[in-house]
Structures are given as structure tokens and as C-alpha cells.
């Protein structure tokens, strides 16, 4: 690790796509300060895209603004992403995997995001805490294969 380079980023965003773009850009410039290999960098970006857009699109039953918290923590071994939202309970770890054998014309247009994140990250852990969904996702920095 380089001296003076922060190892943790906290961003709070509201549940709209404009703010999500701002948050992802902030995450990008934070990640750019650390030498991440292409694969973990892709996995982190994909996790941010898929999890945040899922929360924005599906977590809320009302039309009110909500606060989503994101924390990115780097260690020598992995990148940890923590998402916290006050939407309806949703455990992406337990979400059913899409049926990839379905022919093209019968494929539902969607349902892939969580599956891709699950496949490309090392560990995902979900808990419901004080009316909030808290999701931790670990992306391994070094290894190229899922454990």
C-alpha cells in the first residue's frame, strides 16, 4: 500500500440513477488510486452497477427519496463492498438462479444481474439489520478463480 492513499471510501447516495452515476464515478476515482487487476476491477464495477440499480429499481414501495449507503474497503487480499438501504427486505444471496438453459426466445429479459455478481465475487453475506438491508460483497484482488 502507498502512504497517504485512503483504504476506505464512504458514499451516500439517493435512490435515483443520476446520483448513482455520481457515486460510481467517485468509486472509480477511488479505485484508480489502487492497483487493481482487470478482473477484480471488473467484478467491483459490475457489483456496484447491479446491486445499486437493483436497489433503486426494486427496493422501495413508495416514491419518496431514500438514502443508500455504500462503503468500499480495501485490504491487500480483497475489496469489500457494503451496501445499506432501508427498502423492503431482499436477500440477493438467496435469490433463485436464473435458468440458463432456456432457449433465447423464452428467456425473460432480465434476472441476470444478481447471478453475475454471485458468480464473479468471492463471498456475499446478507443481513436485515434495524429495518435495513445490509449486503457485504467480497472481491478477491489476487486470484482469478472463485473459491
Amino acid at each position: 500500500m502507498h502512504d497517504g492513499v485512503p483504504l476506505c471510501l464512504d458514499v451516500t447516495l439517493s435512490n435515483d440513477f443520476e446520483d448513482m452515476a455520481r457515486c460510481v464515478a467517485q468509486a472509480d476515482s477511488f479505485l484508480a488510486k489502487h492497483d487493481l487487476a482487470p478482473r477484480p476491477l471488473y467484478a467491483v464495477r459490475l457489483t456496484l452497477d447491479e446491486i445499486l440499480s437493483n436497489i433503486i429499481l426494486y427496493a422501495y414501495l413508495d416514491k419518496e427519496p431514500h438514502e443508500i449507503k455504500l462503503r468500499i474497503t480495501l485490504s491487500d487480499r480483497d475489496v469489500r463492498l457494503t451496501f445499506e438501504d432501508d427498502g423492503k427486505p431482499f436477500d440477493p444471496v438467496a435469490a433463485p438462479a436464473p435458468d440458463l438453459s432456456v432457449p433465447m426466445e423464452d428467456r425473460p429479459v432480465g434476472g441476470l444481474g444478481i447471478h453475475m455478481v454471485r458468480d464473479m465475487t468471492k463471498t456475499m453475506r446478507y443481513r436485515r439489520d434495524n429495518h435495513c438491508n445490509v449486503l457485504d460483497v467480497w472481491v478477491e484482488r489476487g486470484a482469478t478463480e472463485k473459491e
Binding site: R45, P103, M104, E105, G110
Partner: protein, 110 residues
């Protein structure tokens, strides 16, 4: 995202550069729709310069593929590289669509 299309024989070769995510994927669908409306329904998508694709990008690919199929057309892909190739494999898209190593191979199939 940059979107270039070029007619080659009976096929339309579409080259996508940059990122296909929730922000840019609608543009892919829109421009593909224009090409279909002009009567071209044999697509070769060259993803050699695609850096990143999320599930939103895959959704728009699937949506275009379904429309082409409804018009008795088709879509095939070439030059998938690195992480984009992995995403195609993880999502099952590799087994759903014809994929070629090079543009020449994809054209030869047409």
C-alpha cells in the same frame, strides 16, 4: 459507448466500443432498431472494443436478438475478449448465440 454499423454483403456489422451499461444500452437498442427498420436483419456484432457490459447491456442484446428472430433474422458475435467473454459465459449467452473468434469467420457463416 460508440456504435458503428456497416453493411458487408447481406450482413450488417455493428462495432461497439466502450461501455454497455444501464446508461448506454438503450442507445444500442435504438440504433439496432433503426437498422432493422431499414430492412437489415442479419447482424454481426463485433465486441472486440467493448470494455464493459453489465446485465443492462445483456438485456438490450437479448431484446435486439428477439426482435431479429421475430423478423426471421439473426445475430452472431465476434471478437469477444477477456472479461466480456467471461460475462457471456457466466450469463449463458455463449451457448445461446453463435460466437466467432474473428469477423472474417462470422462473415463466412453468413
Amino acid at each position: 459507448m460508440e456504435f458503428e454499423s456497416q453493411k458487408q454483403g447481406n450482413s450488417t456489422v455493428i462495432k461497439v466500443t466502450g461501455r454497455m451499461d444501464a446508461v448506454t444500452a438503450p442507445e444500442f437498442e435504438e440504433k439496432s432498431g433503426e437498422i432493422m427498420e431499414a430492412g437489415n436483419t442479419d447482424f454481426i456484432v463485433d465486441f472486440g472494443s467493448l470494455e464493459y457490459i453489465s446485465s443492462a447491456g445483456l438485456r438490450s442484446v437479448l431484446s435486439v436478438a428477439k426482435k431479429l428472430k421475430a423478423k426471421q433474422g439473426g445475430i452472431r458475435f465476434c471478437n469477444l475478449d477477456g472479461m466480456v467473454q467471461e460475462v457471456f459465459s457466466v450469463s449463458g449467452f455463449s451457448s445461446m448465440f453463435p460466437i466467432f473468434d474473428t469477423l472474417e469467420d462470422a462473415l463466412a457463416e453468413g
